[in-house]
């Protein structure tokens, strides 16, 4: 499956489908005042954006990051804190993203030099350190103050999530077709060969790592802007690594549309199963995930392989 550089130009039909889907999503709050539907759509977009940010590094860059929650959590924490101190939400999101960027450089420079399993374990350790420390330092639940709650509406949050999902997906799509993107793919397939043909492996890896972290921080910021009350350490929970990982693999790792399809599937199934089966839905997800890794490494995208739906991005696994 490696090196499947099929050149599928976005035909007019596909382009139309994408544009009309985004338009339909943009019109959703105008058409429907149903808060439950809007809320569900918000979550799909949030998870799609987060999974896409994981996919950028995990699928496209070929590095399994088990500490994605650290970036999500830091973005959420910083954004929430400065926003509640009175900064406009845009600037708060920017600060949150910058803090994730800083952590990306700080963590990436030493950890990306590690080979083998150490990168995955090291990132997991970073996330756990932050989760425990934040839980200890900020044990209080963070609740929106009454005056913010009085003016709280879902619609602007929904548009933010829509913008993120579309923006990050577009960024991944564009990157996959760029010169830098080919460099990243080369490093993923074989670092030695990539270096030999003049690609600076470390810089490419660091670049994807930091970009992926920034996106995750931004998504975390929107989560902090959306959620009425949560424990600060909750945003650092391993769930914020595992759910996007699950979504990405179910949809199709290393493909542009996999995380989006995976997010729709994940949240629909979770909604349907959690109501009827309670805990059992985790069992279903676990088994599905193992089945995908073992038997169908391309995920949903490989299973369907709709013509014109394929990305130019070669699959992440050999």
């Amino acid at each position: 499956m490696t090196g499947r550089f099929i050149d599928v130009r976005g035909g007019p039909a596909r382009r139309l489908a994408v544009v009309s889907a985004v338009a339909a999503l943009a019109l959703l709050p105008v058409v429907s005042a149903n808060q439950a539907i809007l809320n569900w759509a918000f979550l799909v977009l949030l998870y799609a954006a987060l999974a896409q940010s994981w996919n950028l590094l995990g699928g496209f860059g070929g590095q399994v990051n088990l500490g994605h929650a650290a970036f999500f959590g830091l973005g959420a924490l910083v954004t929430r804190t400065v926003w509640l101190r009175g900064l406009p939400v845009g600037e708060a999101l920017l600060l949150g993203t910058l803090s994730s960027l800083g952590m990306g450089v700080l963590v990436g420079v030493p950890s990306l030099r590690l080979r083998g399993p150490y990168f995955a374990i090291g990132t997991l350790a970073v996330a756990e350190i932050l989760r425990i420390t934040v839980g200890n330092a900020l044990p209080q639940v963070s609740v929106l103050p009454a005056e913010t709650l009085a003016t709280y509406t879902l619609v602007p949050r929904y548009y933010l999530a829509l913008g993120l999902a579309v923006g990050i997906t577009a960024a991944v799509w564009g990157l996959a077709r760029s010169r830098v993107g080919y460099g990243i793919a080369a490093v993923r397939e074989d670092e030695g060969v990539a270096e030999a043909i003049g690609v600076n492996a470390f810089r490419h890896k660091l670049g994807v790592f930091v970009l992926s972290g920034c996106f995750a921080g931004l998504v975390g910021g929107v989560f902090a802007y959306y959620h009425v009350s949560f424990y600060p350490s909750f945003a650092f929970s391993p769930l914020w690594t595992f759910d996007p990982l699950l979504i990405t693999y179910l949809g199709g790792v290393g493909t542009v549309w996999g995380p989006v399809i995976g997010a729709v599937f994940f949240l629909s199934l979770r909604e349907a199963l959690a109501l009827r089966l309670g805990e059992v839905h985790l069992l279903v997800f676990g088994l599905l995930f193992i089945a995908v890794v073992v038997a169908l490494p391309g995920g949903f995208m490989a299973a369907v392989r709709v013509r014109g739906f394929e990305s130019k991005m070669p699959n992440a696994r050999g």
Binding site: V64, L114, P117, E128, I129, Y249, L282, G286, V294
Partner: protein, 291 residues
């Protein structure tokens, strides 16, 4: 005196860290796969010990054996059904996919454990659970000393197995060079199966001891996997007793930092230490040569 007390407690818990880590290290050393569901296997071992005690009154020190056998079976099954599919993949794919499969397994095993046994914490309380010995004013719980002793005995047995028996030597040869081992007539697939089973059995022993000294619940897996990973990195690969020493070291570090910084931060210091070693000395504190 408080200092000595903390050191003793650290050593006693550290023995279990070492035991948990040796199983993980064995699987990684031979198969070049990282089973991140190792902590969940330990959790299953804990429940095995707990139910043997609760239903039939089997003393946990004796339950170690059936628990090891049961987990050997679970490990062998997991290997045959899932991990065996990866053995012909490239090193990098093998590693990555084993992590992913293990991650899926953690979800499955945790949920199954909650469904079967609820999310409650369970612990074994033996008649002698509260017994302590005073040495120079330092309180030494007998139970934990016993657990440390069992851990040490099991690892000693493993050492003898690896160095004095033919299957053990075949296992070490496979860890060193799979192709050369296969050329020498070693049945490599069987050795893989044996290693995975042994690694799981060690998790089973550790789990049974944990259910006696601490408690088990379906959620303990991740934290034990992390502990085992930390210890493996601290100890470096290759030596059982190096890993065991690293386990003791982690136990004492946690206990001391819990004492100095407050109990809430004891795990954090272990993780920080781990990151420092990872960055500064990737071959491990006690290991030699590159990782």
């Amino acid at each position: 005196m408080i200092f000595a007390q903390n050191a003793v407690f650290g050593l006693l818990i550290g023995g279990l860290y070492g035991l948990a880590a040796v199983g993980l290290s064995l699987v990684f050393g031979v198969l070049k796969m990282l089973n991140v569901a190792h902590g969940e296997l330990l959790m299953l071992g804990g429940y095995t010990g707990f139910w043997l005690f609760t239903l039939w009154g089997v003393d946990p020190f004796l339950a170690v054996l059936p628990s090891a056998l049961a987990l050997f079976g679970v490990g062998a099954l997991l290997y045959q059904v899932l991990f065996r599919r990866l053995i012909y993949a490239s090193d990098e794919t093998k590693l990555k996919n084993s992590i992913l499969i293990g991650f899926g397994l953690t979800l499955v095993m945790q949920t199954l454990a909650i469904l079967a046994w609820t999310a409650d914490e369970r612990a074994i309380t033996t008649p002698y659970a509260g017994a302590v010995v005073h040495i120079d004013g330092v309180v030494v719980p007998v139970l934990r000393v016993g657990a440390l002793g069992v851990a040490f005995l099991v690892l000693g047995g493993l050492h003898l197995f690896l160095h004095r028996t033919l299957p053990g030597k075949a296992l070490r040869a496979t860890a060193e060079d799979v192709e050369a081992a296969a050329l020498a007539g070693i049945p490599v697939p069987k050795i893989f199966l044996l290693s995975f089973g042994l690694g799981s059995a060690l998790a089973g022993v550790a789990g049974t001891l944990v259910s006696m000294t601490d408690a088990v619940s379906p959620a303990i897996g991740l934290s034990w996997t992390l502990k085992a990973l930390i210890v493996v990195v601290l100890g470096g690969l290759g030596s059982i007793f190096g890993t065991f020493a690293a386990g003791l070291f982690l136990g004492v570090t946690e206990s001391m930092s819990g004492f100095v910084l407050g109990n809430a931060y004891r795990e954090v210091m272990g993780l920080v230490l781990f990151l420092l070693v990872l960055v500064l000395r990737p071959q491990g504190l006690f290991g030699s040569g590159p990782a």
